[in-house]
């Protein structure tokens, strides 16, 4: 395993979140609790080439994702943006970049930076999302393939009886 990936695995470990039972709202809750700061995640209609936006305000962080995308892609986008928070990436200075306008509920009109091409930060955020998803996928794959848990409840006791895995 190369160093950046190992570092990202350490960061994910440090979150001490049970990724086996991952779901996005629960993960956001855990991060809010850990950072002692509100994170508002909201679906929005964004332009064609913009999948999500992270806006940092005084009292909270706002994450907007394009709600017209596939749910799997939406989750990826939110994870990617949460990675910027977790990794303490500095917010992009609003005055120095082309802007787009977003109406933030109860906050009025804010200006947010369009995504810029900071390769290191983007790569790190992608790596974070990938590490989280790898752990989730591995856990679910284990559940589906190795544990052989039947999805038919009435048939499950017989399948479990024939299973060679440890008792559950």
């Amino acid at each position: 395993m190369n160093d950046p990936l190992r570092r990202m695995n350490d960061i994910v470990d440090a979150l001490a979140y049970d990724l086996v039972h991952f779901n996005l709202p629960d993960f956001v809750d855990a991060l809010q609790h850990q950072r002692q700061r509100r994170i508002q995640v909201t679906g929005w209609s964004l332009s064609d080439d913009l999948f999500g936006v992270w806006i940092t305000a005084v009292s909270a962080d706002y994450i907007f994702y394009d709600q017209t995308r596939h749910p799997v892609h939406q989750t990826h986008v939110v994870l990617h943006l949460l990675a910027h928070l977790v990794l303490d990436h500095p917010p992009y200075p609003l005055t120095a970049v082309p802007t787009l306008t977003v109406d933030v509920p109860n906050t009025g009109r804010l200006y947010a930076a369009v995504p810029h091409d900071d390769d290191t930060q983007t790569a790190d955020a992608n790596r974070f999302a990938a590490v989280v998803q790898q752990r989730v996928l591995t856990a679910r794959r284990f559940d589906e393939l190795y544990r052989g848990r039947s999805s038919v409840p009435s048939f499950r006791p017989y399948v479990d009886g024939l299973s060679l895995e440890a008792s559950r």
Binding site: R69, L145, Y146, D160, S163
Partner: protein, 318 residues
């Protein structure tokens, strides 16, 4: 014929090995404390013993062997009938099926013990036993085994278990052919050649299917890894097409050797799916990718969960 006999012997050995290893593990893990586990292992044991009683699959066995084999098979499937029965809520309680098979077994014993049976030629003795066995099991196969297994196969979403239910279904269809064939065996020949070898081959199909159905899940993972590799290859081709249309570089992915690791492969599939989504808006403006974009947009509109999404994307026509 020698190859088929060797294969049959090999399958029997594999089945015994599977059974012995599995039972050892189940005992070690105290799994047999559970009544459902005892039922399923009891059926497995009966099935293994029944298959061991079989002679050469390409010829008809002696009447005594057929009688024992038939009794074992009938008991195994009667046990399986009782296993499936409570899994079919809402179905009317069929008292005929509760008693038909025990009555058939009693009838078989009476037939076998009659002095007149001993005076019959061996071929007729075999035929009589087969008529009682298959005439009875045909009813259960049509009324219970095929409909119930087909329902379980449809409802199952865990891949190895769906595979196992599919194997069991093939097994019952093969048995249906064998049963029908066996009943006609006494009279039907083609150009004077008895059809027994054909039905023996179908028995082999049934044996393979049921052995797969009973095989531990971990051993099946190897087959699914091959299928996932194929899925990944198809997704990569789709990603390449979208990257070209979007005029963006194709992202590097793990080397082929690394993909043999199941975790790396799953991550590669996920990254490829996301890359396809991210190339999509730019590719949408490329006139030559209209067909692909339409297919992708239909998938996005579906909003299916991840496992189904992967299947849908891998099935996109390039």
């Amino acid at each position: 014929m020698t190859t088929a006999v060797a294969m049959f012997t090999g399958l029997r050995l594999l089945l015994w090995l599977t059974f012995a290893v599995g039972l050892g593990r189940a005992l070690h893990r105290h799994r047999l404390a559970d009544p459902a586990a005892r039922t399923i292992w009891g059926l497995f044991a009966l099935w293994v013993v029944t298959l061991t009683l079989s002679d050469n699959p390409l010829t008809m066995a002696s009447p005594v062997t057929i009688a024992f084999q038939s009794g074992g098979l009938m008991l195994t499937l009667y046990g399986y009938y009782h296993l499936l029965k409570p899994l079919e809520p809402g179905q009317p309680d069929n008292r005929v099926l509760d008693f038909l098979l025990p009555l058939a077994l009693v009838l078989l014993v009476i037939v076998l013990l009659r002095p007149s049976f001993q005076t019959l030629p061996a071929a007729q003795q075999q035929y009589l036993i087969v008529v009682v066995r298959d005439g009875t099991l045909l009813v259960y196969t049509l009324a219970v085994f095929i409909p119930s297994t087909r329902r379980l196969w449809r409802e199952e979403t865990a891949p190895p278990l769906k595979f196992k239910q599919g194997s069991a279904l093939i097994c019952f269809y093969a048995y249906l052919i064998i049963s029908g064939g066996s009943l006609l065996l006494g009279t039907i020949t083609i150009d004077g050649v008895l059809l027994a070898p054909l039905f023996g081959l179908k028995l082999l199909v049934a044996m393979i299917a049921l052995t797969l159905a009973l095989m531990p899940y971990r051993w099946l993972v190897v087959f699914f890894q091959g299928h996932r590799l194929l899925t990944y290859t198809r997704l990569r081709r789709l990603e390449r097409r979208f990257a070209q249309a979007a005029d963006r570089p194709l992202a590097a992915r793990p080397a082929a050797v690394e993909l043999l690791n199941a975790d790396v492969l799953e991550l590669g599939i996920y990254q490829t799916v996301i890359a396809i989504f991210e190339h999509h808006p730019l590719a949408a403006h490329h006139p030559r990718s209209t067909g692909l974009v339409c297919q992708l947009e239909a998938i996005i509109a579906d909003g299916t969960p991840y496992p189904m999404l992967v299947k849908q994307l891998a099935a996109v026509r390039l």
